[in-house]
Amino acid sequence: MNKSSPGGGPQAALGKLSMAGAVVAVAVGAALVLGLALLLKALGAHPFTLKASTSSSTGGQTVAHLTISAYPDSMAGEHGKSGGAHPDWVSYGPTTNLWVPAHALVKMTIKNYDSATALNSPFFGNVQGTVGGVAYYNGKPLKRINPNDVAHTFTIHMFPTAGQPPLDVSVPLLGVADNAPNAPGSQYPKPTVVTFEFHTGASGRYIWQCFDPCGGTSYYAGFGGPMQNLGYMAGTVTVGGGAVA
């Protein structure tokens, strides 16, 4: 190897590429990534949001009414009659995205068609954050129910994001009997009906979830499957700007 004859430096031997080609490549690449992002966004988009029906009561207080249900499968909620990808997963319906007005009294009803699974943490057998600290179970006011009799919980809890007020509401749902027969003309037994009221503050975006380990016994602590995916046992609560839906 002769040091004095380097065999031509790279600078001398360069073939120039066009910068336009590079710019096009970057644009195409960016478009592909953005396209994938939008595809994933569309795939994950929620089918619809359930808006509370509102009315003004005496004193100008906005009152909102919202009714949802908890099912032992996915055949009655947002996944359609066929149940979608996981028909056997427990679910809330008709949807898990909820909207309620700001500065309102929300009167909520939850019909539960599912049987009980003992809570991982008995604390969530308590009713919290509701008017009077109670919920009405088939009409009967209770501050707590036996943690072993809980089918699901409906728990709003998010703190803090963008300066929105805290909104902590937790209501356990009483399970139907394990071997309850289906009601006439229905695919489910007669539900237990839970009603409760809570106040909303300024507008904000919150999440809710179920704390009952209803995700199937084959998952550790019962928190697999429906517990780990939006649209089943978890969703969002949007507190709106007070506009009537």
Partner: protein
């Protein structure tokens, strides 16, 4: 002792200048980036902030030694074309290598000794009358119960200012991590295990408990409010809470 070359002197001078400037920057970083570190609401957090500053100050001369030397060579000797002649055939310098090894070893041992001295702050309770708080992590909420006060349980953490706290942390499902950024406290919450963390909050205010270990769907939302308040207000609060259901 080898005589210092002009190049060596230049590098040394610039190393000293940049080191002083860098350390000055470290001392003033809170003016440039306010809110860089969370409020230090406990002696532990203050000590951690001091350690972060100390390590940064120690790092400045080390980093500058590498960067100033590299910058000097780039500024004085750079060329876009293939160099027509080679650099000097220096294969090493025993003195430089020994000195480097010695200094870096000393620095390292110093850091270890410093860290060992601070370990008791992490792993042993602050002296005094302990407030025991049982912390339970679950997917995706913290609950706090106070065995000294009838085992009352809440989803928010309220602590009296100035009283040492022992957190006894566990989980009922997967691994979480109990973290109060403002207090410099962190310990994992493990199923079927109880782990401990210790702190003495000494600044009233509102802070946050964070889960710091990915725990599934709503990990991002697994946070709870912390309030440090006067002893009287704490007692008042604790008596309003419900006991944990049996």
């Amino acid at each position: 002792m080898p005589r210092m070359t002009p190049a060596g002197r230049t590098v040394l001078i610039w190393w000293a200048i940049t080191t002083v400037l860098g350390i000055a920057l470290v001392f003033n970083i809170h003016r440039i980036l306010p809110g860089l570190l969370p409020t230090a609401a406990s002696p532990l957090a203050q000590s951690q902030d001091f350690t972060l500053g100390l390590f940064t100050v120690l790092a400045v001369p080390v980093a500058m030694l590498v960067w100033v030397t590299a910058a000097y060579v780039l500024i004085t000797s750079r060329t876009r074309e293939m160099p027509t002649e080679d650099g000097p055939p220096i294969h090493g310098n025993t003195l430089v290598q020994s000195a480097w090894l010695g200094v870096s070893s000393l620095l390292c041992v110093g850091l270890v000794v410093y860290g060992l001295a601070l370990l008791p702050d992490i792993y042993t309770p602050r002296p005094g009358n302990q407030l025991v708080v049982n912390v339970t992590g679950q997917q995706w909420q913290w609950t706090f119960s106070y065995p000294g006060y009838g085992n009352v349980t809440s989803t928010s953490l309220v602590l009296p200012v100035g009283r040492p706290v022992t957190f006894r942390v566990t989980s009922v499902d997967v691994t979480h991590s109990f973290w109060i950024p403002a207090m410099g406290v962190k310990v994992d919450a493990n199923d079927h295990e109880i782990t401990q963390a210790f702190v003495r909050p000494d600044l009233k205010g509102n802070y946050t408990v964070r889960c710091a270990e990915l725990c599934g769907l709503y990990h991002a939302y697994m946070q709870s409010p912390v309030q440090v308040t006067s002893a009287a207000r704490f007692v008042n609060w604790v008596h309003q809470q419900k006991p944990a259901t049996a």
